[in-house]
């Protein structure tokens, strides 16, 4: 199916009698590449850049300088261009990927403007606003790509390769992790993603793609000046991406095609209407962007996509990954919590809590609202840093480790409100769990070298779905699931990750009686297989019939520990739950 993109290569033949349209076609291909770089950044990773044109400029000026001033081959220029784009991305990204989402785009505006000014003012190096002329054409097996017709084959061919590579990326563990990261960094970290590193890599990839487009741009026009690498240009690319629909590859391609045509038309029309020359098309971009953001925030493609047949991927049949199945003597201590303490602005939320979790048991952590259960849970899972105390997993100290490191050691968690990714399928959601059990990096994913591992990851996810009874829904979007099914899917994601210690945060909230019973029996059978469960909940019906042991907290302290029946009779527990009898 996706190989149909190669049909784009027929366009130069169809347009060969019209040199003007061949030029437009080349511009479309170059714009599409830049917009695809925004697909990686915004569509997948949930960040945005207003400096894509600056990355292009890096690629363009690098090759221009090397070929004109040093007389080297354009292919060396390509290498240098990609390198410079990469370095710029590294600098910008390293400074901002850890910050809240808006610092990156804001600082890209500033860098974009600064680089544009430099390109215009470093006259000795860049030729200032007159630019650098007479770049050599690219030669390909002795053929000089010096006409729009010939050049279009190169740009379109590279464009199609890029599209295919990005499809590969989207379908890989990296693509899933990026989408997860965009939706919910906390959840992504809980199954092994290091958010800052993954974001930075996506930013680098995006910069390199734009750099490639810049290189091709320079050798197409065989002339570079600062204008096409301005902030306005960067914004134009962003408008294309958002208008078409930045969440999908066909969406951004549609945006690029639409705006390349529109720009051409506006550039002719507006000066006629206004009776003056100038960059009036920016008005159109701005207003179209505003309208799309208000009326169709997901862009135009979803409106088209509805009428297209959707294709079924089928269920995976490969051999699942070999995960270590939970084993070890029942009753051995797997998780040790000692003197855990945490305060928020003077309020002591957890005041020295200790307990052990033993293999194969279901331990419930209960207590009235505000007792510190959830804080304790988050301290164990690494989502919060304790002020004092220790947590040991399988004898190894994990206190203060980030969630993605703790997860790798065999501890998985769920969330109070299911943290799922509704636009992904049920199978993909479960497959997110396999992130830390698979290895393929960006490059392997792009080149499609990780297919085998990918199939095994999906098979693992499918096996986990079968285990919780969701296999019939594997190919549905997760948004179709009921709350109960969403809870099961979170468990499946844990099972697919090979975690042996399962931390469940209020897993029964929102479930109906029948669903609760099924959920409880699933947990019991998992415990029999050797999984260890720590459950935080306040649903007494569920806990009392399910847990082997109960730890009760109140005011940040442990007030009781023991079998459910003992705990229910404990006067301290009754007082904590029902309140004091007397009123002063």
């Amino acid at each position: 199916m996706r190989y149909l993109w190669f049909l784009l290569l027929l366009l130069p033949l169809a347009l060969s009698p019209f040199p003007y349209y061949l030029t437009l076609l080349n511009f479309f291909a170059l714009s599409a590449m830049v917009v695809l770089s925004l697909y990686v950044l915004t569509g997948l990773a949930g960040m945005t850049s207003f400096a894509q044109a600056a990355f292009m400029g890096m690629g363009a000026y690098a090759t221009a300088l090397l070929t004109i001033k040093a007389g080297l081959s354009p292919w060396l220029g390509l290498g240098a261009g990609l390198l410079f784009a990469l370095l710029l991305a590294l600098l910008l990204g390293a400074l901002t990927v850890r910050l809240k989402g808006h610092f990156l785009p804001l600082s890209t505006i500033a860098w974009q403007v600064a680089l544009y000014i430099l390109a215009g003012n470093l006259v000795g190096l860049t030729g200032g606003h007159t630019g650098l002329t007479d770049l050599p054409p690219i030669h390909f097996f002795g053929i000089s790509l010096d006409t729009g017709f010939r050049y279009a084959f190169l740009t379109l061919f590279l464009l199609v390769l890029l599209v295919l590579a990005l499809y590969n990326l989207r379908q890989s563990r990296i693509g899933r992790a990026l989408l997860a990261l965009r939706g919910d960094a906390l959840a992504a970290a809980s199954f092994g993603v290091d958010p800052a590193v993954l974001r930075l890599k996506a930013f680098l990839l995006s910069g390199v793609i734009a750099g490639l487009a810049g290189f091709l741009y320079a050798h197409f026009l065989r002339f570079v000046n600062p204008t096409p690498f301005s902030l306005e240009a960067s914004i134009k690319y962003l408008v294309m991406a958002v208008a078409g629909g930045v969440g999908s590859i066909p969406g951004v391609m549609l945006g690029a095609a639409f705006f390349t045509g529109l720009e051409d038309w506006l550039k002719d029309l507006l000066p006629l209407l206004l009776g003056r020359q100038g960059n009036y098309e920016t008005i159109g971009y701005g207003l179209i962007l505003a309208l799309i953001l208000i009326l169709a925030p997901k862009g135009l493609w979803p409106l088209v996509e509805r009428y297209l047949p959707s294709r079924d991927l089928g269920v995976p049949k490969a051999e699942p990954l070999s995960l270590k199945s939970p084993d070890g003597p029942r009753g051995e201590v797997v998780l040790e919590v000692q003197g855990l303490q945490k305060s928020f602005g003077g309020l002591l939320a957890v005041a020295g809590v200790s307990f052990d979790l033993r293999r194969g048991e279901i331990l419930a952590l209960i207590g009235p609202n505000g007792a510190g259960k959830s804080t304790t849970f988050n301290l164990v899972a690494g989502a919060l840093l304790p002020d004092r105390g220790q947590v040991r997993l399988f004898g190894k100290e994990i206190t203060g480790l980030p969630p993605y490191r703790i997860h790798a050691l065999g501890l998985g968690r769920t969330f109070q409100h299911p943290h799922l990714f509704l636009e992904l399928t049920v199978l993909e959601n479960a497959a997110l769990g396999t992130y830390s059990r698979t290895r393929a990096g960006f490059l392997q994913a792009l080149l499609g070298l990780s297919r085998r591992e990918e199939e095994r990851a999906l098979a693992t996810a499918y096996r986990a779905l079968k285990r919780v009874g969701l296999e019939s829904l594997a190919l549905e979007k997760a948004e179709r699931l009921s709350v109960g099914q969403q809870r099961l899917l979170e468990i499946a994601r844990l099972l697919a990750s090979g975690a042996e210690v399962l931390l469940l945060d209020e897993p029964a909230a929102g479930l109906r009686a029948q669903e609760k019973r099924e959920f409880a029996s699933l947990l019991r059978s998992l415990a029999r297989e050797g999984y260890t469960v720590l459950i935080v909940d306040h649903d007494m019906d569920l806990i009392m019939g399910l847990a082997d042991r109960v730890v009760v907290m109140n005011y940040g302290e442990k007030i009781a520990e023991g079998a459910p029946k003992e705990v229910q009779r404990n006067p301290l527990v009754r007082a904590a739950y029902l309140g004091e009898e007397e009123v002063a």
Binding site: R524, L542, M544, Y577, L578, G579, V583, A584
Partner: protein
């Protein structure tokens, strides 16, 4: 005639029905408490009432049906919520927080001074700390501030969401002493609580919510003795059959 009457209130969050068909009413000067274990849908009832969550069902104030609920419109009728988590303005001073409680009345050019005096009489601790940023108060003082701020709007019906949450027992008693005082002065109270014993000692009537539905309703005195309330909280009655 009842001051507030709720008929068949259902509250949804996406696919999740947090409250199903809850019906109750409240007379002027009465105190009703909504109790039940965590997750039973108590807070959602309040959110549905105020139009802060997607809700179906009818709500009558003074016998007139309320349509197009918005917190602003209900506020000017006198329906004031002290939310869970208090929603104070931590960077503003205690007194500014209180004055903002009367913001809609201030816009109608009413004098807020007498109300401020009244709040300070009820909560002398707030008077001592009136210049301090609200964020530096202790949990109990913050709860006092949240209640005081709501009083500045001159509520005809005061909704309180878990006023005892996270407070030490002595502070809970202090808060309830003040709520008792408000009740004696004639303020109508709708009190959402997990702390059932405390709430039932204050309220005239109680309503036990379980899994989004009304499980029990009756005079507070009767509910205090009812073993079913204890069961609802501690899960004593039902056995989950072994899988």
């Amino acid at each position: 005639m009842s001051l507030l009457s709720v008929q068949g209130l259902t509250v949804r969050y996406g696919p999740l029905e947090a409250v199903r068909g809850v019906t109750f009413s409240l007379k002027e000067g009465e105190a009703l408490t909504l109790i039940g274990p965590n997750g039973a849908g108590k807070t959602s009832v309040l959110r549905g009432l105020l139009g802060l969550a997607q809700a179906e069902g009818k709500v009558f104030l003074d016998g007139a049906e309320v349509r197009g609920r918005s917190p602003e419109a209900l506020l000017s009728w006198g329906l004031v919520l002290v939310p869970e988590g208090r929603a104070l303005f931590p960077g503003l001073s205690v007194e500014d927080n209180l004055l903002l409680g009367g913001f809609t009345r201030f816009r109608r050019r009413e004098n807020l001074r007498p109300d401020l005096e009244r709040v300070y009489t009820l909560f002398p601790r707030l008077l001592e700390r009136r210049r301090q940023p609200a964020g530096t108060l202790s949990g109990g003082e913050q709860q006092m501030l949240a209640i005081g701020r709501a009083l500045m709007a001159r509520p005809r019906l005061l909704l309180l969401d878990e006023p005892s949450l996270g407070l030490a027992p002595l502070m809970v008693q202090e808060i309830y002493r003040i709520l008792g005082e408000l009740k004696r002065e004639g303020t109508t109270l709708l009190l959402v609580e997990q702390n059932a014993k405390m709430a039932l000692s204050l309220a005239d009537r109680g309503l036990v919510l379980e899994a989004g539905e009304v499980a029990l309703m009756g005079p507070a005195e009767a509910l205090r003795q009812d073993p079913k309330v204890v069961e609802a909280y501690l899960g004593l009655s039902r056995e989950v059959e072994e899988g």
